[in-house]
Amino acid sequence: MPLPTFAPTSDERVIAGVCAGIAQTLAVDVTLVRLVFALLALAGGAGIVLYLALWAYSRRRRAWLAGLLALLAGSLLLSALGLSDRAVIGIALIAGGLALAWRRGGSFRPDAPLSYGGLALAALGAVALLSGGGAPSALLAPGAVAGALLLIAGPWVWRLAVERDAERTARIRSEERSDMATRVHDSVLQTLALIQRHAQEPRRVASLARRQERELRGWLYGDQPLGDESASLVAALQAAAGDVEELHGVRIELASAGDCPVDASMGALVLAAREAMTNAAKFAGVEEIDVYAEVTDEAVSVFVRDRGSGFDRAAVPADRRGLAESIEGRLERAGGRATIVTSPGAGTEVELHLPRRAS
């Protein structure tokens, strides 16, 4: 005899997912199933025991336990309906005996092997039932029922709670793991793929690896999540440096002392710093650029330095003056100043200085 099966669902579950699992199998609304169980629970607690029975049943290995619990649920229901204890015990014995017989024999067909123990149990139940007369006896006090129920179900509820906690922890852990996997996929694996494609271009490979390293480190040790560049000045500078490294195949060494949040004028500082890094990458003819950001209570200073060709400020071509303008002009508008120290052959250092607003 094939039994209907269902699996507890973890998606919509409240306790162990039994109601949700049943709702899914029967294709009905989960609230309806829960309502049924709640109503049955009022009938002497039968709903709760039935729930446990189904939960145990859904876990396969505990079929005998499920049977016992179902029996108990039925008994509770009957006694809640007003049957006498004797009658309840009788019916329970009959049901138990038949179940045992069925389990041993595998079916009720005449040629199936008989379970004498089971039949004896059923007969005993029948005797108890008939002699008891099945008449309603005085209803048990609700308190006694609840107490008994607590004794029976208490340990189980407690164990359920413990298991639920463990399962929730496991679920959170697995969510974290999948979050990690997504990030690794989005960043590290993509970078590795890019590196394979550009294996013939050492500079590009180096800058890809640097950028990935920076990003991972920011995520592992930084305060802000991966890819969130607006959180702090250092994070924003890191992102800018990463972009310049990737675009121009240079190495940017970023050092910092202190950090601060990024507001509009701080944003202008970051853009100017990025411009200075780009300039150094394009014109200095070096592979490494040093950037240092220092945040004090009064001001923020960012230094962008290269040991490259340098230039004579008096003889800058028009397009480069424009770039210098976008550094100096931008800083002035934000209330700071930019100083560019350079001469041919002596490298270039751009200092960006911005007072911090009292806030």
Partner: protein, 211 residues
């Protein structure tokens, strides 16, 4: 005479890379991949310099320094790492490492750093200089050993230039000092970093997880 160097890092690929980059500049006499392997190896070989990863599978670099230093006071340690949470780096320096460089350093630069450490000088990468400046932030200090707990304006200046990417000889030229004087400023900072009981230093290390 070539400096005798032991490498301690659990990444074989990286070890091979460092060996290749260093080439003939130093003599690599041994290597280890864990704290447990490194400690007896270093004691046995007694090298000039140990290149040390900050993080190892069974502990951190400062555990090796603490275990080796009492028996082999002549061995110098140089931390070499990519995993630079500030407090980890400061912990290794406070344990006694003579400097900290990042793994992206070039072969010749690394060889120069090893030589500098072997002669008892300190090696500060720009990043470490930034960490240290942040840890010794001006003001706020009341009481305590002022000499150890504060950087002098000159030391601060030197550290700022290191953080900005200046080399010792560039710093010397800019500040009109000799290279030896710059080196002694850096060594003083290292000493303060190792000996200071400034409570901000400990608090800073736990509060700031700056990269």
């Amino acid at each position: 005479m070539k400096r005798r160097v032991v490498l301690v890092d659990d990444h074989d690929l990286f070890l091979a890379g460092v060996r290749a980059e260093l080439g003939d500049a130093v003599e690599v006499v041994g290597q280890a991949g864990s704290v447990a392997d490194a400690v007896p190896l270093i004691k046995e070989l007694d090298p000039d310099v140990v290149l040390l990863d900050v993080h190892l599978p069974d502990g951190s670099g400062d555990a090796i320094i603490n275990a080796v230093a009492p028996d082999r006071p002549g061995v110098r340690f140089l931390a070499l790492s990519v995993s630079d949470a500030a407090e980890d780096v400061i912990a290794v320096i406070r344990a006694g490492a003579r400097g900290y460089v990042t793994k992206t350093i070039s072969g010749p630069e690394l060889a120069a750093a090893i030589e500098r450490v072997a002669t008892g000088d300190a090696v500060f990468s720009p990043r470490l200089a930034g960490f240290v400046l942040d840890a010794f932030r001006a003001g706020k200090q009341v009481g305590g050993d002022a000499e150890l707990d504060e950087l002098t304006p000159r030391e601060r200046e030197v550290l700022q230039l290191i953080a900005r990417g200046y080399m010792y000889k560039e710093i010397a030229a800019r500040l009109h000092l000799s290279v030896k004087t710059v080196e002694s400023h850096v060594s003083n900072v290292l000493r303060k970093l190792q000996l200071s009981t400034r409570h901000e230093l400990a608090r800073w290390a736990t509060e700031h997880r700056l990269v």
